[in-house]
Symmetry: C2
């Protein structure tokens, strides 16, 4: 007897492209059992975060399949970093158009395979279906933190320093370049910015290190000011950023219009707050991770965010961030 | 300052329809933090299962929104039941067409709200995006089992009894009726079968009770014979079913063509195997849960599945199950 003639397509795709991604994790049972097991280390709890992306909305039709996979995974890993969680694994569900070339699926899986060892994660399980519409992908990622210690958005207090990792606005400039903005940049600078858009580098080393020092944390996905606004709203504080302290890369400076960096999305840097007496320790833990962090302002009483120029003038833009939805 | 003018649509939908579903679970942080925490009880591990469904492929365009929600949730709860896991919660990602009436989303959330207390689960988190294509929904469910005890597909041995809960073929007949098959049934019988298709009743009481007695388990989603074939393939056994023992409801018997029940999908009953010396105990634990179970055959040496009639003749159909993909 032929044991499973039905749903050949689904089983074939899973065994060919996805089962190898689960081979390193015994609790996945090789994707042969419709469920996986996972448990946090003693004294820890799991942190769970889910993201969905759709072709034509969250990625460009021409984006390489492996980069789409990396971005989907890394965006969730960045959420874990912002929670101070150490990544463990992920489950994925995919809805593929029936006419999607199998090469695209192979490239997608190759992107995941390439990233898994980089971030210490394995595929645990998932589901593969077909759709009459655009590719629709959903990923749920698992990390762990000591019980009760997850970094939250609501822990900032007036007087806390506002800090951000890395540089801001690179991904937004990279997206503008992909959309046809000439930019007048050297090829190397252009490639750097496009790569920052296509291959975000989640701060999974820094995130868990911040558990000891940060009072709140978020990753910069909607935009520096928009995400700071989320921290302020949840913490019941206001935030004031000094525009000239926002860290820009050399390539981003060459792109011009530095103010646009404040509201550009997709940087996946960590934006966090630190009580003043822990500021020095925060710089030290970041340095130990090899990650530059910059003090860009302070939390104050009140609500909302503002950004000021070198003379203290309010230069807050009307729109704080990027519309994904 | 307006704190989050961007992505108004997403935040509105989440706070209006989904945050109430998370209110009962502290680790969801009210869906205000982009991540949730979850931990199994001491001595337990989490069981994770993911399912995706797409409008036009997995549900009918005219299906009530609350039933689509229930089915999405219950299909995953049935996966947990088949693993012997006690349900804890779930995360959901939704891609809605931009022109989907908000009423549909409200109905979808109402279906989840209605089912949550029934199955003892809460929403933990998720993501809401828009799509230019059909509605695309993904759900990842969490349950728990004692460490190392998850029911598997690969534990059946030659000589084990094959048992199934409830009745088989109701959902397939219900789907046929919805697609226009007149069926010549009384309205009550018709309603029963349609309800069995639209509102599967996962066996979350029986599943964990089977941990003590079953050697393998799967839920009947692709079809009785197709799912038995999965058990056989993973266990390295053959399975022989007695066609006249396959339990049919009175309504299903009235529908005719009993052989079609063997290959119809979507019943979400539990199909499990039991060593002969545990058969009596299996009936006892099922009775304690108030769930009828039927001994329909036996695992044998070899591979593949066959179904025989009252005279022992092989009446195995060429196609064992239902094609979802």
């Amino acid at each position: 007897m032929n044991d499973r003639p039905e749903r050949r397509g689904e089983f074939d795709l899973i065994s060919r492209y996805f089962a190898p991604l689960a081979a390193g994790y015994p609790g996945s049972f090789g994707l042969r059992d419709d469920a996986a097991v996972i448990a946090p280390d003693p004294g820890c709890e799991l942190v769970v975060t889910a993201d969905a992306i759709v072709a034509g909305v969250h990625f460009l039709a021409g984006d390489p399949a492996d980069d789409v996979a990396r971005k989907l995974l890394r965006v969730s890993l960045s959420d874990l970093a912002a929670k101070g969680a150490r990544p463990l694994g992920y489950v994925i569900t995919t809805a593929w158009p029936r006419d999607l070339p199998e090469d695209w699926i192979a490239g997608f899986a190759a992107g995941l395979a390439d990233d898994q060892p980089r971030f210490g994660v394995s595929l645990l399980g998932g589901d593969t279906v077909s759709t009459d519409g655009p590719t629709c992908l959903s990923l749920t990622a698992f990390g762990q933190v000591p019980v009760g210690r997850m970094l939250r958005r609501n822990g900032a207090r007036a007087g806390d320093r506002i800090m951000v990792s890395g540089t801001i606005g690179d991904a937004g400039a990279g997206l503008a370049l992909l959309k046809g903005d000439a930019g007048g940049l050297e090829p190397a600078a252009r490639d750097f910015l496009v790569d920052r858009y296509r291959r975000p580098q989640p701060r999974n080393g820094l995130g868990p290190a911040l558990l000891e020092v940060a009072s709140s944390c978020i990753d910069v996905s909607d935009g520096l000011l928009a995400d700071l606004a989320h921290l302020c709203a949840e913490s019941g504080t206001a935030g004031e950023v000094h525009g000239d302290r926002v860290p820009l890369s050399p390539a981003r400076r060459g792109f011009g219009n530095p103010q646009a960096a404040w509201t550009a999305g997709d940087d996946y840097e960590l934006l966090f707050t630190v009580a003043p007496d822990k500021a020095e320790a925060a710089f030290a833990v970041a340095a130990a991770q090899g990650v530059p962090v910059t003090d860009i302002g302070e939390m104050t009483a009140g609500n909302g965010v503002r950004i000021v120029d070198g003379e203290g003038r309010d230069v807050t833009p009307r729109r704080l961030g990027y519309v994904h939805f």
